[in-house]
Structures are given as C-alpha cells and as structure tokens.
Symmetry: C2
Subunit: 349 residues, 2 copies
C-alpha cells in the first residue's frame, strides 16, 4: 500500500461520518464534544487504513508548516556542529522540523536557500552568519518583511540589521580568560585573534582584564588568523614563542582548537612545558586536543545555552511576529583543564 493515498475522506467513508467530523476528531479540536462512539469509529478507521495526515494541505490551510529553515556556512568546526545539534534537538522537542542549508560561504547560495525556504513557507529561519562582502540585500529583505529570523553566532554589529541575535559574550569570554591567567600570575599575555572579529569585542574584553593590573594590550604579542586553521596558526604561534625569553609572553589566549593545537606544537618545538613555562587558554572548545596528552583550559562557547536560546527566541517570534527583536548574550563558562596551571597550583598546596 502506497503511503499518502489515504485521506480524511477515506477515513470518513469507512467510519460512516463526514470528512469534517474526521478533521474535528483527529485534530482533537477544543470545544467539540463528539459522541464517544463517533470518536472511536473515527480512530479505528484511521488506524485500520493507516491514515497519515497530510501536513502539506494542513499547512496550506493554516498558513503554518511547523518547519523552520536553518542556514549554516559549513560544518567545518565542532562548535558549529554542536550548536546545530542542540538546535535540531530543541526544535524537534517543540514540534518543528528543520530544513537545512549549507551556504558554503556563498552569499548567492544563502540567498537561494532563503528563497527556497520562503517558497516552502517555513515558519522562521535561523541563520549562522558568515563573512560577508557587504551583500546583505537578501537579509535586509528578510528583516523588512518582519520574517521571524534569528542570527546565531558572531556577527558585525555594524550591519545594522534589526534581527534577533544570540551569541556567547565574546568580550566577557576574553576578559575571563585573561583574568584567569592574571590570577595565575601572568603579566605577559599573547593572543591569537581571528582577523575578522565582530567589532573588536575580543580585544576589548582582553583589555578590560589587563587594565585591572594597569597592563596594556601589547600589539607585538598579538597575531591574527584568517581561517583559524592549524597550518595557518603554527607559524604565528612559533613567532610568538620564538623571541628572547624575556620578550616573549608567558601565556597565550587563542581562539579555537586549531590555533590551540598550533600553540601546543610550537611550545613543544621550543622546549616549553605546558603549563609550567607557558600557559594556554583557548576561547572555544573544539575538543581537538582531546587525544593529546594536554587538555586545554577553555572558555566555552556554551553551545547548549546558545542553541536553546536561539530556538526559544525564534519560537517567540513565530508566535508573535511583531515582537521586538532581541540581542541575547550568553555568559561563557571557564572550563579548567591542564594548560593553565590550575593543577600545579593544587599540587603545591
């Protein structure tokens, strides 16, 4: 028996009632008090015929698909994947399915997906931002249409688009990382930042923590990565550690697991023991170092909280499309492991 051929009409015929009755009974619509007997006849008929409701027609009528669209630039790092995982889980719990699109960094592809999503009348979209060349017309259209949309992750404030945003607080995250290193007595702290970071948040956070000690953010100990790959970060890490001992940082804060792995390698090459000679804190928990002997202390992006908030926020907008758009900032969490010196400190006691 082919799926999808049994309709409410068939059920109605079999149960000896009208199609409207079937809809009422199966839809369990409130305010309807059908006779017990009628209800059972409908349920039985539906079961026997293996009736599967057709959400396409229901969607057409109700103007609601119980489906959302999700656009990711790529599945190339564990943080994005973890957020995706949570988002998928949360939407399912809330009764939604998710339509996925990978934009692969192409604005055109992103646009195509958004068009496809509109056409399929998704109830809302979640977008993970990507680096843009100022091409945001399609996003502007989304916004102007007041289409329920949430942007998850790092974005440029300057885009000036009135969306709901959800992200970990990167400024606070860097403040926490530096703060922690300062507590371990470090004063010479180096950084590996992404080149394109939203509005200098990372720098500001680092600076704020340094300022409590009257320390400046030293440009000579800052490096920038484009993509954040291991290969790209390795020479930068080497250059941070390669100078005269007195002129080198004693601690490094870097963004992501690949740069962290690069620092570990560079330290090993230079003969620096971690955390004894060099402390390391990563912003973002890619769990890349999980197979190495050193587990890296990390400021977590709290993917679970971010994903959950994003889902809640989108559902809020779906339910009240005129509600105000919010900027939701999730507090990061410091996860102590073996690269910052906490263990040693305990041993000293």
């Amino acid at each position: 028996m082919k799926i999808g051929v049994v309709t409410q009409k068939d059920v109605a015929r079999k149960a000896g009632v009208s199609p409207a009755t079937v809809s009422h009974v199966l839809g369990n619509r409130p305010g309807f008090a059908y006779a017990r007997n009628t209800r059972f006849r409908v349920f039985d008929a539906a079961r026997e015929l293996r009736y599967v409701p057709n959400l396409v027609s229901a969607s057409l009528r109700k103007q609601r698909t119980w489906t959302i669209g999700l656009i990711l630039p790529a599945l190339d790092n564990a943080i994005v994947i973890r957020k995706f995982d949570i988002i998928e889980r949360e939407f399912r719990r809330a009764g939604y399915h998710v339509l996925m699109g990978l934009s692969r960094g192409e604005v055109a592809t992103e646009r195509t997906y958004l068009d496809g999503f509109y056409s399929r009348r998704v109830d809302g979209v979640v977008i993970f931002p990507m680096l843009r060349n100022g091409e945001i017309e399609h996003l502007r259209r989304l916004m102007e249409a007041q289409f329920p949309s949430v942007i998850v992750g790092e974005h440029e404030d300057s885009e000036g688009l009135d969306f709901s945003y959800v992200d970990v607080n990167r400024e606070q995250g860097h403040e926490m990382a530096v703060q922690h290193l300062i507590e371990h007595g470090h004063h010479r702290i180096g950084f590996i930042f992404p080149r394109f970071e939203g509005g200098g948040r990372r720098r500001r956070g680092a600076e704020r923590a340094l300022r409590t000690q009257g320390l400046p953010l030293e440009e000579r100990w800052i490096r920038h990565v484009e993509k954040g790959s291991f290969a790209e970060a390795l020479p930068l890490a080497r250059s941070l550690l390669g100078g005269a001992i007195e002129a080198s940082p004693t601690a490094i804060v870097c963004s992501g697991g690949s740069p962290a792995a690069a620092v570990l390698r560079a330290a090993q090459e230079t003969g620096l023991a971690i955390p004894k000679d060099l402390a390391l804190v990563s912003f973002g928990d890619d769990d890349l170092a999980v197979h190495g002997p050193t587990l890296v202390t990390t400021v977590s992006h709290c993917e679970e909280a971010v994903g959950t908030k994003a889902c809640e926020e989108l559902i809020r907008l779906i339910e009240q499309p005129d509600a105000e758009r919010r900027h939701i900032s999730v507090e990061p969490k410091l996860i102590l492991r073996n690269s910052c010196g906490c263990e040693e400190r305990q041993n000293e006691k």
Copy 2:
C-alpha cells in the same frame, strides 16, 4: 510588506490577465505560446509585487515537494559529517531541499522523524543506519509502501529489507589495507575492529589478503571496540603492543581516527617509532591525527562518491518508484601518508 501574502491572483490582477495565465507563464509550461507582451506584463507584475511562489500549494496539487528527508544517528564523526555535506550539496544541485533529523540512536526518534517526513510528504528519504535492537517495523513499513528510500553506510545484510543501499566496500577496504602492509613486508598484523560490524565484512577482507601469503587471521591480535572512542581504544592498543616483541604485531589496521590516535599514543608510550617499528593503517579518514606529527595512512571511505551515489539513487527512485532497489558498493581508496612506511621506502632508493 509581509512575505507570502502576494499570490498569483494578485499578480494576475496587476498584469490584467487571468490567474491561469500567470500560472502558465510563470510555470513556463511547455506547449503554451503566450504573446510576448502578455509574458512581459506577467513577469513585470510578479517582480514589482515581489511575488514568491507558494510551494506548499504547488506541492499539494502536484504531489511533489522537492524536499527529501535525511536521518542521521548523530553528528559525532567526521565521516558522517562529510557524507552529510556532500548529500546536502548534491540534492541542492538537483533542486531539492533537505529536512534533517538526528535520531540520536533512538529508534523511537527515528520513527517519529519518518512520520513527520511522511506527513510533510517528502519525496524520499535517506537514512544512515544505526545499531538496532531488531526494531525495524518502521523500516519495514517504509519498504512495503515502496517509499523511495536509500540507506547509506554500514548495515546488516541480515535485516533482509529491500532498500537501496550505498556504502564503501568495507571488505575490499580491509583487503587493501592488509595488502599494503604485506607489501611493506609485514606478516604480523593486528586489528581493532568495531564490535558490531556488518556481517564480518572487515574480517573477510583482511583474511582474503592474508591468505595470499598463506597467513591466518590471528585472533590474539584482534581487538573489538563498541563505540570506537579514543578512551576505549587506548587500553586495547596498549594490550596489542604490550606483549613480548616477538609475539606482537608489527602493523595494525584499525577502524577510524580515534582508535588510530590510540594506537599512536600506545606506540609512543611503548617506545615504538612509527612507521619504523610499527606500521599503522586506518580504515576511515577522520583526519583526527591532522594536528599530530604523524599523518596516518588511511583507506578512505570516499564520502564524496558515497554521497553522490546516494543522491543519484534516491532521485532515480523518486522518478521511478517501482524501479528495482540496488546495492551500490563504492570502491575505497588508499591514501598514502606517513604511518605505513611508504616514505621511508622512498628514502631508501
């Protein structure tokens, strides 16, 4: 302006034609020869009103959604993610969108997703199999309904379900791995297999290669992992290498990057240099060791080919639902890196 409020009727009014004409013109239906002028008026009106077609209603009418459903057990390893990536890309190219479901190893969740997919009238489904407790009723129903479905990845032949399957040839992959080690002069080869492998394919492949040298598959050099995690594999790797030198394997074939990383670590602990003292080939390219000093020689799962075939196969079934179901086996590829001795060999020359 809200999205979705402009319909063909609005376009028709604006263009001064009938709704049927709009549908014909915009749908670019063959066999219709509308006047140039009419066509332009329709296009212009559609553009000015920002008309976005409603695929929900079109789907209802045409009984086709241009959407497929994809079920994965989890996004927990790079091989699955890469296949997913390719599948998404290929379906997009073919004009489909993909509805994603993570079953998280729960049969009930898988079933719920399949139901949601039916309800949304996806044109077909791609399922990545998971370990099952014999609960395959929902799959059997899928099959009996002749619903276009493709199963991607390792499965038990014994399930006896008439689906289309696409997978890398695991038997051949292991044959290739062992073959390669034999060519490097190894006769004592150890294995780390997954406990649940489809029908002993891996063993058969390994045996076939060993047999060419008159060698047996030695049970004492075989270990089994449940989940294939690093933590689980490490003690097993140690136990493989820990015996008397003469009784230990000189080469290991393992399934996946985490076990490979475990072998690397165990070798390091035992003081074995790779590939000089111990050769290693991994079946499956998790690129986990990419940050370590040793790049592991791997028999690739050829995710690209697998994903592409899966997509082609599903589209074939969508277009001809009665077509026969196929078992598609993709030939694996040996990727030479630094853990098998190929480099050394070159140096000798």
